[in-house]
């Protein structure tokens, strides 16, 4: 009985030690995570007492009027920031992330039109530019990684509301053939040469934004371009080729960004083209080449057009999501 009575205080001590140890671990974990959470800067210094709740070292902002199809998806409208200097020059009045808002709708303007200002949607031959701003929240070197994702919806998707709380049931899985075709037909680029009409620096999944010595509360403009080529000749044939000239067309994709057989991207309906690589190599040389095969040219055009038809028939809406993460930043 005596031994049993002595054991009880021993257990109590153990419980206290264990709870204390767990509490210490929790505090330690909390301090580390809140550092990242509140400051978003791996190089910030100071004691735990000095940590304050601020937004990240950057925010994203867009300007312009709302898009026609904003009511189809669940993005935050964001907040308005005023008197933000644009790259040291003018002043913009953007709708921006920040103060707890991490996700905003991409406001549209006349020259950054994903096609939805007119309400006509996009189709082969459509193109446009999407502009947004990276706002530095402190004097720092910014090195951001943007991932570009698309979500496809069937034509049955409808504006959200009481009768339609979400469109998730209308999302087309990435594994579907039509989803891969969209990635191969609606192409995104970092650069566009207005003089030549040629797009370059293709964005397949991510791109970086680097700005050394970024100044606090300054907005840095970023443009990305998209194009849905009307015919595959615009990707393959050499500029000035008779077949392009005959149709009043130009090559619009830089040679380094020409169509390639990448996984996750499809360019041709059914992809059952015998000897696809040889076929592409043959047509790419142009119609003036002695080995050029009109059969190859016809097959590629037909399969590209059939793919466009499939995209237009099976998809109803495309949602573009640009997600920014800090890849590196440092205080100046």
């Amino acid at each position: 009985m005596e031994r049993e009575n002595k054991a009880r205080p021993h257990i109590g001590k153990l419980v206290v030690y264990l709870v204390g140890a767990a509490g210490a671990l929790v505090l330690l974990a909390l301090s580390f995570t809140t550092f990242g959470w509140f400051t978003n800067s791996p190089t910030v210094s100071g004691s735990m007492n000095g940590v304050t709740a601020v937004d990240g070292v950057f925010e994203l902002a867009a300007v312009g009027s709302s898009g026609k199809y904003d009511s189809y998806f669940n993005a935050d409208d964001g907040i308005n920031l005023s008197d933000i200097a644009e790259d040291g020059a003018g002043v913009i009045d953007p709708t921006a992330t920040g103060s707890g808002k991490t996700e905003i709708k991409w406001m549209m303007s006349g020259d950054s039109n994903f096609g939805n200002i007119t309400g006509d949607g996009i189709q082969p031959g459509s193109s446009g530019k999407l502009s947004f701003y990276v706002i530095a929240k402190e004097n720092t070197d910014l090195d951001l990684t943007f991932s570009l994702d698309t979500i496809l919806y069937t034509p049955d998707a409808e504006p959200l509301g009481a009768d339609n709380p979400d469109n998730s049931e209308h999302i087309i899985p990435d594994t579907r053939a039509v989803a891969k075709l969209v990635k191969g037909h609606i192409l995104f680029f970092k650069s566009f040469d207005e003089a030549s009409g040629v797009y370059s620096d293709r964005i397949t999944d991510a791109f970086t934004f680097v700005r050394d010595n970024a100044q606090a509360d300054t907005a840095y403009k970023v443009d990305i371009y998209w194009v849905w080529p009307e015919v595959i000749d615009q990707l393959l044939l050499p500029q000035g080729d008779d077949l392009l000239t005959f149709g009043g067309l130009d090559r619009i994709i830089a040679a380094d960004d020409t169509v390639v057989t990448e996984s996750g991207f499809s360019y041709f309906f059914s992809e059952e083209i015998s000897g696809l690589t040889e076929c592409l190599n043959n047509v790419t040389k142009g119609s003036a080449d002695a080995a050029f095969s009109t059969d190859n040219h016809r097959i590629l055009n037909a399969k590209w057009n059939e793919a466009d038809q499939m995209i237009g028939t099976e998809t109803g809406y495309i949602e573009l999501i640009l997600t920014a993460d800090v890849s590196r930043s440092g205080s100046v």
């Binding site: 709870v19 140890a21 309400g119 496809l152 038809q309 995209i311 949602e319």
Partner: protein, 234 residues
Amino acid sequence: MWGIAVKNKKVRLKRKALLITAISLTAAFVLSTTVYAWFTNQRRLETMTKISSPSSLYIGAGAKEDSANIDMGGIDVTDATGKKDFVFCVYSDETVGNYKLQLAHTTNIDFTYTIFRATESDTALITNDMILYVDESGVSHYYAKDGTALPGGYLNLGGDGKTANGTLHDKSYDGYDLVQKNAEPLYWQNRDPITHDQSMRSFVDYYILEVSWNSSEVSNNKETDMVYLTAGMV
């Protein structure tokens, strides 16, 4: 003694249970807060737009019927008028900016092909020079040539003014050279794109293909030609 051993074992079990619970709770907390922090560090822009079907351009017969109803068989070259007219249309149920008409044909028979814009006439205003098209339901439609011939020209007309030169031979036959000269197709294209206002959601443009001949140069001898009509957006 046996009783004390049992109690000690229970104590060890409790210690283990407490230790496991504390570690699990800590790990769960660390994991959840880290993931939450990761998500809240991200910033995101989203936009959405509609995907439209590619605009389709169709060639049809009169009354916007299927092109299978354009029947050019049975031209009787003893017809004193020296010509025969065929109604066809170009239409779309979507917005189409500009398009061009193209005609390709072989040259076995010495026919002249001319394309005119046309308008469908009110039945109360029918005249003898209008072209009759009877639709699949047996209803008669009358079309009148609208002005002069559509401006355009052959892309590969030879020096004789009748057959094709070799400039587009490879486009037709690749490297195959054993082609009879009248089997070399002539390619004709109208000069100026036919334009439609982008606000037009649909349209039907009627045309008349006039096939004419000089009766002294042709005869009903079962000779055949292939004739292709195409319309392409430009």
